[in-house]
Symmetry: C2
Subunit: 144 residues, 2 copies
DNA sequence: AGCCTTTATGATACAGAGAATCACCGCACC
DNA sequence: GGTGCGGTGATTCTCTGTATCATAAAGGCT
């Protein structure tokens, strides 16, 4: 009953859709999922949850700190399980693969710049867009 | 006739709306403007340019390299004059003020991380969100 | 300048992501 | 097992931004 009680702790009833979506994140190969991704995945699993519910649950989970939301250039928001460690993202414009990274030096420099301007950082977003190693060799197989 | 010939060089006719929008950017106090911002500003100046035209012209100017587009968390795209130097942005969640900054060290570290993953960066976006100095003292006048 | 072809404009319709509505449903507590 | 309140899902609405299309205006040519 860990999952159900976790939901109750944050004031959310342990309903079918919520547990299903939470489990989907825990068992998914791809960490970063959009509302549409989740909707399609559930449909292919014969689970029928309305798109409105998915949007609602994702928002609630984000506010509860269970999920973290990101906005890549794709235009649609993606969510991932909040497992404590902050990290930033590299997005391949070829295949869409998302790679996570964390650089304490960059984090420190951001704080330093903010301090220089008397700015109190609450949040930040750093996305690198480009071509992953696979997509590069796929486009120029000879090179390397 | 510098502006007009500049437009012609990139294959765009030097029309009224295009010149007006370009001049608006050059004379604006605020560097970062959304389509809606421009539309309202022009309306208050008794200039009537359709919103569709503004969106179209902004897209063309971005493709021509005259403007650079950014997506802050606000949800709407903002544009600024492309004056050569790349920079990143700090956005105040209180008053919306945008502060620009450039840190060669952060840029270098991004490249290093990409290289470590065999990733070829084409573009990146770094936004810091928080409270500017003014908004902080406005909320807590005693402190400082 | 006046004509003519090409491109631009602007009103409006359309699209896509996501939030709001609201009647119905089902979990939790008794 | 009833009852009430929160949850659900079909649908509608909102908000950015794009596509359409008839009309207008650039700019090259004479
Ligand atoms: Zn790739
Ligand atoms: Zn991540
Ligand atoms: Zn501020
Ligand atoms: Zn800027």
């Amino acid at each position: 009953m860990s999952k159900a009680s976790h939901l109750k702790d944050i004031g959310l009833k342990a309903t079918g859709p919520r547990l299903t979506i939470l489990e989907l994140f825990e068992n998914s190969e791809t960490r970063h999922l959009s509302a549409e991704d989740i909707y399609r995945k559930l449909l292919s699993d014969e689970v029928d949850i309305g798109l409105a519910t998915i949007y609602r649950v994702l928002t609630q989970f984000e506010q509860a700190g269970i999920l973290v939301r990101h906005h890549f250039e794709s235009g649609k928001a993606v969510y991932e399980l909040n497992q404590g460690g902050h990290h930033d993202h590299m997005v391949c414009v070829g295949c869409g693969t998302v790679t996570e990274f964390f650089d304490p030096e960059i984090e420190r420099l951001q704080e330093r710049i903010a301090k220089q301007h008397g700015f109190a950082i609450q949040d930040h977003s750093l996305y690198l867009y480009g071509e992953c190693a696979e997509c590069q060799s796929r486009r120029a197989p000879g090179k390397r």
